[in-house]
């Protein structure tokens, strides 16, 4: 695999901060998400217990992935489905492209398919692909990447969406959400009716029954899994859960944390292809189970819990950094706090090592995560790895080493404090330039005025 290019998050963040439309759009969307989520979470008195339970189920399963994945394969096969194993994204895309070759494809929203750039692979295999989710369809028309797990098109205005849909419909459309939605619906309906192959992701795969569960609000997944002749579902190995009963917990947590709904509009349970006597459903059901770096994270005891993520996006919605950068700044399909953890794990510390540092460690993500992933801890672990394995910049190394050197002896601290007071006077008279990191501090903030006499001097006398 070729090395991934370096992600310069600071540069990307500056660019996002300069985009006034983006700032307003993100702020209002994130506040809206939080306002929707808070009441439906507060109404569940056992929310904290459910989070802890979901966390335990996920970690239990992650500790026995081989067993549950084998069981899943057996159960899917026993019900007439076919299971395909893919070591990485390339293999998964090849398998799916082979199954779909030359056919007309509708695809539902799936982060895993974004991760492996599935649409490009399908187009290379001569398929025509249409995204069935409204937001993803718009992203596809724009030739962009999604900028939020749940709200992929949050960075675009309704005017720019009207332009995209007008071009697709071949007729000018006004920038009115109802009109645009109706137009998209008409365009998409034709595609659903024509499609030979439907591709979806998987929210949960139940080992004991071979059932895959997909959650959505628009009905496009229902169409994708019932109209075309072939249904292909793509999942990462971490999506398996042991029992149907566990869904009672996950399906309580996911919609509330994701969109602030008590229940998503459509929750589809799919167990194998159409059986004799059934009125609808595909003739073929294929389940592609993909590793793509997950087994490596599973084997990494400190990082394993990042695989518990159910892709709800709640950590993005509360993150003060994400609220100001949006998803594109992360240059990864996974953005926000969870993206800052898993992108470095997938792409390496050299490419994505800046991301774990792009957090004030305010802890809002860890508090909100419905499966109780300790995101601040994971960010801290990764920071230590970056310093150990990639190394920090020389200015930062000098600052931190100087700080710890001073702090190892109280006498040094007393001396350094006096020296700092003196240097600050010279800086104020502009006789000295401010050294890093204080030079960056004073871009927008004043330095504190030192007290005339230090506390420790007064105390010791």
């Amino acid at each position: 695999m070729k090395p991934s290019p370096h992600i310069d998050f600071d540069r990307n963040a500056r660019e996002a901060l300069g985009n006034e439309f983006l700032q307003r759009a993100l702020r209002s969307a994130m506040v809206r998400f939080r306002e929707l989520q808070a009441p439906v979470i507060a109404e569940i008195p056992e929310w904290q217990a459910l989070r802890a339970y979901a966390h335990e189920v996920k970690l239990h399963t992650l500790g026995r992935l081989d067993r549950y994945l084998q069981q899943l394969e057996q159960e899917v096969s026993a019900r007439g489905g076919r299971v395909h194993w893919a070591r990485d994204g390339g293999e998964a895309a090849t398998i799916i492209a082979r199954l779909a070759r030359g056919r007309y494809v509708v695809k539902s929203k799936s982060m895993t398919s974004e991760e492996i750039h599935l649409n490009e692979a399908l187009e290379r295999a001569g398929c025509e692909v249409t995204e069935g989710d409204l937001g993803e369809y718009l992203i596809q028309l724009a030739g962009e990447a999604p900028s939020h797990i749940i709200a992929p098109v949050v960075h675009r205005s309704k005017e720019s969406i009207a332009e995209l849909l007008s071009a697709a419909a071949g007729t000018p459309l006004p920038a009115e959400p109802e009109v645009l939605t109706a137009a998209a619906r008409r365009l998409l309906r034709q595609r659903f009716l024509r499609a030979d192959v439907g591709i979806t992701g998987v929210n949960f795969a139940v080992a004991e029954t071979g059932t895959i569960v997909v959650v959505e609000n628009e009905g496009n997944i229902r169409l994708t899994t019932s109209l075309p002749r072939i249904h292909i579902a793509l999942m990462g190995i971490e999506k398996v859960i042991p029992r149907v009963a566990d869904l009672a917990v996950f399906l309580t947590l996911l919609p509330r944390a994701a969109t602030g709904q008590r229940m998503s509009s459509y929750v589809s349970f799919i167990t194998g292809p159409r059986r004799p006597g059934e009125a609808d459903g595909p003739e073929e059901f294929h389940l592609v189970i993909m590793d793509n770096g997950r087994a490596r994270i599973q084997a990494d005891a400190e990082m394993r819990e990042s695989l518990a993520c159910i892709r709800c996006g709640a950590c993005l919605d509360v993150c003060p950094v994400f609220e100001r950068t949006g998803g594109h700044a992360y240059e990864s399909e996974y953005s926000g706090p969870i993206g800052a953890v898993i992108t470095p794990l997938y792409r390496g510390l050299r490419a994505a090592g800046d991301l774990p540092f792009a957090s004030s460690l305010c802890g809002a993500c860890g508090e909100v995560c419905p499966v109780k992933i300790d995101l601040p801890r994971l960010l801290l672990e990764l920071r230590a790895r970056v310093v150990r394995e990639r190394g920090a910049s020389w200015s930062e190394r000098i600052f931190v080493r100087a700080w710890t050197w001073v702090m190892t002896r109280p006498a040094r601290l007393g001396f350094a404090a006096r020296a700092a007071r003196m240097l600050q006077r010279l800086v104020r008279r502009r006789l000295l330039p401010l050294p890093y990191p204080f030079s960056r501090w004073t871009v927008s903030r004043d330095l504190p005025v030192p007290p005339a006499r230090a506390f420790r001097d007064g105390w010791s006398k």
């Binding site: 950094v321 792009a358 871009v443 420790r456």
Partner: protein, 217 residues
């Protein structure tokens, strides 16, 4: 110290103390942070309770020392013992001493910023507000988006200066909108950040540590 003594606590400030090591730890320099953690334990181990006027430092000892020292079982055990007796000031006053009233008077309008580490790592929600509620002649002003971070985050403030400043902007707009004369918090570092921003804007609003309010008479 004034507050603790007023409430009958015998206080010692070990002069050998320096820094808990959070600056280095949060920035990924764990090897550099460990000797500071060891020093901290040596110095504070003898105390019945360790009170820090900073939720962030208290959280470092309580929550993050065990993580930093996990490869040194003996140190980790000591860290857990000290961690259990380490408190942020308002937490110690309300939860341990059961004292809501510090006997203070502060005739000003005050906005309270719940600093992140205190709020989320230590779960300080009620304690500071209960103490402020008992301060005579003090009016607590509601702060919009109170639980949103001020953008400090240690080295984050300089490494991602533009993001940090944008977060500070929102916080300062909320503080200015609260109609307060003072903004207070349980963390000196957040107050330094907010204070630096207020000073740059030549705002008349002053940052003040919760302990300073509780000591005022």
């Amino acid at each position: 110290m004034t507050v603790l003594r007023r409430l009958g606590v015998s206080v010692d400030v070990p002069i050998a103390q320096t820094c808990c090591g959070q600056v280095a730890f949060n920035d990924g320099f764990w090897d550099e942070a460990r000797p500071l953690a060891r020093r901290h334990l040596d110095i504070f181990e003898h105390a019945d309770a360790v009170v820090a006027p900073s939720g962030s430092c208290a959280a470092m000892v309580r929550e993050f020392y065990p993580m930093l020292l996990r490869d040194e079982p003996a140190l980790m055990e000591r860290a857990q013992a000290v961690g259990h007796r380490t408190y942020e000031l308002s937490q110690f006053l309300v939860d341990v001493l059961g004292a809501d009233d510090a006997g203070a008077r502060f005739p000003h309008r005050v906005a309270y910023h719940p600093a992140c580490h205190g709020l989320r790592a230590l779960g300080l929600r009620e304690q500071p507000l209960r103490l402020l509620g008992k301060v005579r002649d003090l009016e607590v002003r509601r702060l919009g988006g109170a639980e949103e971070c001020c953008g400090f985050g240690g080295m984050f403030a300089v490494k991602f200066e533009s993001l940090s400043s944008a977060m500070l902007d929102s916080k300062i707009r909320a503080i200015e909108g609260s109609g307060a004369d003072y903004v207070t918090a349980t963390d000196a570092s957040c107050l330094m950040h907010i204070g630096g921003g207020l000073s740059r804007r030549a705002s008349p609003i002053r940052p003040i540590h919760l302990a300073e309010i509780l000591a005022a008479q």
